[in-house]
Amino acid sequence: MTYVLKPRLHHPTLPKNKIGYTRRDYEGKVSTLCAGCGHDSISAALIQAFWELDIQPHRVAKLSGIGCSSKTPDYFLGNSHGFNTVHGRMPSALTGANLANRELIYLGVSGDGDSASIGLGQFAHVMRRGVNMTYILENNGVYGLTKGQFSATADQGSKSKRGAVNADAPVDTVSVALLMGATFVARSFSGDKQQLTPLVKAAIAHQGAAFIDVISPCVAFNNHPGSTKSYDYVRDHNEAVNRLDFWPTREAITVDYTEGGVIEVPQHDGSIIKLRKLSASYDPTDRIGAQDQIAQAAVKGEVLTGLLYLAPDAEDLHAHLNTCAVPFNQLGEKDLCPGAGTLEKINASLR
């Protein structure tokens, strides 16, 4: 953290996006996390992604739980809606908010403790239900706020800063998300914004449950030899299966792909996701295959990153439940409280 406010001055050439904002307009308060925290890089990638997508900040709702990761929504999109829930309960609050107003863009921010320990059940169900959201899990493998105990995502055999060896099997959040029916599943690394930013953009555009597990080194407690979530370890074992480019519309595609192995996935909203394959055998539209390859990489100690699974024909919660298309806050009193007569009718139909 710092005691000095980040100066408002910006580079003279700082560009504006289509709606007239600079990247700096998407910032929040100055971070109070430890210097060098991977989470701050994730915040920077989120700022970049929302700026590039020309999203009006007040159309975004940020929801988070408890933990270092869950503090970060204060450090980006300072003009968006925010909600800090109790520990591990962010998915419930997000689901409720989404049901009430489907027109906002939902960003869930959580950590490995919040999602893989106390909130594992919530995490599983929000994926199952296909809530239209971007769920970012800032995964550092330790409980940073309580001084570095292993979290549920710490790899078996990895060492703590003090030398203790983790005996428990890890929760692989990517595999859980796939198993539970998430329709967009990716893994990335806070130290690689070039990979992370397009993934975030694609996740935001995805109309369904989008999950990104971002490995984010804890500089204070988990960035030492023996850790499998350190800058050095992740850089040495990072196996990117693809590189992704995200195009908001078909017309915007300007890059000429000459080399082979490009997969083009059109999205519901007209945007295009282009994947440059780095691994010839990896097919990101094959759920079973993806699960298999993730498991195989884990055995080899590799960290598989990139867009791991994408269901092009995804549906969301509202489609499943056939809900009202109009947000509650735009409905009149009559629609919201149709009166005793209507209640009677409903009750009668259930008898």
Partner: protein
């Protein structure tokens, strides 16, 4: 690109734009911090060491530091009117609010028996005297005028520079045991025969350029050469001018002429220039000051003749021209409009100054070039006669006070080396220190907060008073509170961002926090390519890129120095201390033991 060699003092010196631009390399941010801390005497001494005349320069300097100041680049696209820090006027604050500093000045050194003569008592000669007298040299300054100060005293009007300020700062030098004699030197050969070990010529550019137009002779009584006229005002020989005055010329002398006229009875005073307003040589703030006093500046008018009626000057005729750009050159061509006639009672001609050395015999052993200027080495200030040195306007034509001071320092070093039997070409390295400013996790020993304030204006005395009294100083100087606020605009560019590549873990924290997008981690490339592929394009080619050695991932750190705020956030957010804020203090080495070569020192 190759990794930047930060051990070369020039690298960090260039980052301190103001200090690099100052001919005397004054440690500007250092003294501005001292002013902010209320340590005016200390701030004054930092100035006095390098520029000798803080009080005088704080009012009259040409301020090459200000156009160079990073603050105006940083404010681009952030403020409606980007402006540099008011460096010059802060210098005056140090002079205005200091205590008695006489006890901190050097004393006359024990005589070393070596005699030096300086011709002309202007800033260049005075600087030579100040540098050499404490070392024990017997310095004598000759001037044709009865007072020391040269053009500082004779050409700069009192409403810009009060007499007390000149007397005080010139006095500090004369008090070092320097002899001042009023004597017009008429023969170089004669002076050379008087037994001085070295001669320094700081006689200025004393001749105002003539304007030979029809009517010049007949109207001579009311046509004056600007600098001579200003000088006679300074000496009290002239105290009146006609009601209608035309000032010809677009330089700072013209500005002084028109403003002085306005105070000596001129009611309708106008400046008429050949070129366009923008191209005028006068500093923008001097033009602004003249206009503030109700003096119009008319441009694109070429003087054609003086109008004389009944043996008396009654006006001038001008031809209207326009600027035409051809083959990259600007030419003034007549517009064909009818000539314009302006009535006037007096004309002041301020169309330039020339050097004149009628007193230097051409067979005295000093070589002159085709344009009749002495051949002077740009580094050592030495002429073709080994013990004769030139400086100030006398060396390379009209410049300004701060250049004269810089020349004086260089010449003093040369004289000291010459008289100690050393090679003049071997120049002393500057004294450099680089010290971490870290006090704690979020604490720096400098104030790293960036203030958004716009430049503060120096208050003016009521124009009703100043236009009546040629000696009433127009600018009042900053008060202490405003000086503090203006000082906060300084970005502390001397507190350098120093990067240690082996400590970096490439976590991107510095990239994310940097408000100006100065820092990029990228694959290495040549400079041209790097400049275009940074997080923000590095288009200012006068500003260096700071490139690290290869990092663990094979990438390099590249920092564009151009608009860095020196806020220290990169270092605060760095988990490993790879970034540190270190104060770079560079002091030029003046004459004395420090300027002598190591070999010589060993031998001694």
């Amino acid at each position: 690109m190759q990794p930047t060699d930060v051990k070369n003092p020039d690298y960090f010196h260039k980052v301190v734009d103001c200090q690099w631009a100052c001919p005397a390399h004054t440690a500007v941010p250092e003294y501005i911090r001292l002013i902010a801390a209320g340590r005016y005497s200390d701030a004054y001494m930092v100035n006095w060491e390098s520029n000798v005349f803080p009080g005088i320069l704080g009012r009259t300097c040409d301020r090459p530091c200000e156009p160079a100041c990073r603050r105006s680049r940083v404010e681009e696209e952030n403020n409606p009117k980007p402006e540099p820090v008011a460096i010059c006027r802060l210098k005056r604050v140090a002079a205005d609010y200091k205590d008695d500093i006489r006890g901190r000045l050097p004393k006359k050194g024990k005589s070393n028996g070596k005699k030096i003569a300086c011709v002309g008592a202007g800033p260049a000669s005075l600087t030579v005297a100040r540098d050499l007298a404490p070392l024990g040299y017997e310095v004598t300054i000759f001037d044709q005028d009865p007072r020391a100060g040269g053009m500082i005293w004779s050409q700069i009007p009192r409403f810009r520079l009060p007499l007390e300020v000149i007397d005080e700062e010139v006095g500090y030098i004369l008090d070092l045991g320097v002899s001042f004699l009023q004597r017009k030197i008429t023969s170089m050969k004669e002076l050379m025969g008087e037994g001085y070990e070295a001669l320094f010529i700081g006689s200025g550019a004393p001749r105002g350029r003539e304007l030979d137009l029809p009517g010049r002779k007949d109207g001579a009584k009311n046509i004056h050469i600007g600098i001579d006229w200003l000088s006679s005002v300074s000496f009290g020989h002239t105290s009146k001018i006609g009601k209608r005055v035309i000032v010809l010329g677009g330089g700072n002398t013209a500005m002084d002429c028109c403003r002085t006229s306005k105070r000596l009875g001129g009611e309708d005073v106008k400046v008429i220039v050949r070129s366009g307003f923008e191209e005028m040589k006068a500093s923008p703030w001097e033009k602004e000051d003249a206009q503030h006093e109700g003096i119009p500046i008319l441009n694109y008018l070429v003087p054609k003749k003086f109008v004389i009626e009944a043996g008396k000057l009654t006006g001038m005729v001008f031809e209207k021209v326009k600027a035409v750009h051809e083959n990259g050159r600007r030419n003034l061509v007549p517009t064909g409009e009818p000539d314009q006639h302006f009535e006037c009672d007096d004309v002041l001609v301020a169309v330039g100054q020339e050097n004149a050395f009628p007193w230097i015999e051409r067979d005295a052993g000093i070589a002159f070039d085709k344009s009749n200027m002495p051949v002077v080495d740009k580094v050592t200030m030495q002429s073709s006669a080994p013990n004769v040195f030139f400086g100030g306007d006398a060396a390379f034509g009209p410049k300004n006070i701060i250049w004269a001071v810089a020349h004086g320092h260089d010449a003093a070093v040369s004289i000291d080396k010459l008289l100690n039997g050393e090679d003049l070409a071997e120049r002393p390295a500057p004294g450099v220190s680089l010290m971490s400013q870290k006090m704690g996790i979020h604490e720096w020993s400098y104030d790293n907060e960036i203030h958004a304030d716009m430049r503060y204006k120096v208050p003016w005395r009521d124009i009703k008073i100043t236009l009546k009294n040629v000696k009433a100083e127009v600018e009042l100087g900053f008060d202490v509170a405003t000086a503090w606020k203006e000082a906060q605009r300084c970005l502390n560019c001397d507190v350098q961002t120093v990067f240690t590549d082996r400590l970096c873990i490439e976590c991107d924290a510095c990239v994310d926090i940097c408000p100006m997008d100065c820092i990029t981690f990228t694959g290495n490339a040549d400079e041209k390519e790097l400049r275009n592929h940074l997080n923000a394009p590095a288009r200012n080619l006068t500003q260096d890129l700071y490139v690290s050695g290869p990092l663990k991932t094979g990438r390099v750190m590249v920092k564009d120095e151009d608009v860095c705020l020196h806020c220290g956030l990169c270092a605060e957010r760095c988990p490993t201390g790879a970034w540190d804020m270190q104060k770079f203090l560079l002091e030029m080495t003046n004459a004395g033991p420090g300027c002598r070569s190591h070999r010589q020192k060993k031998a001694a």
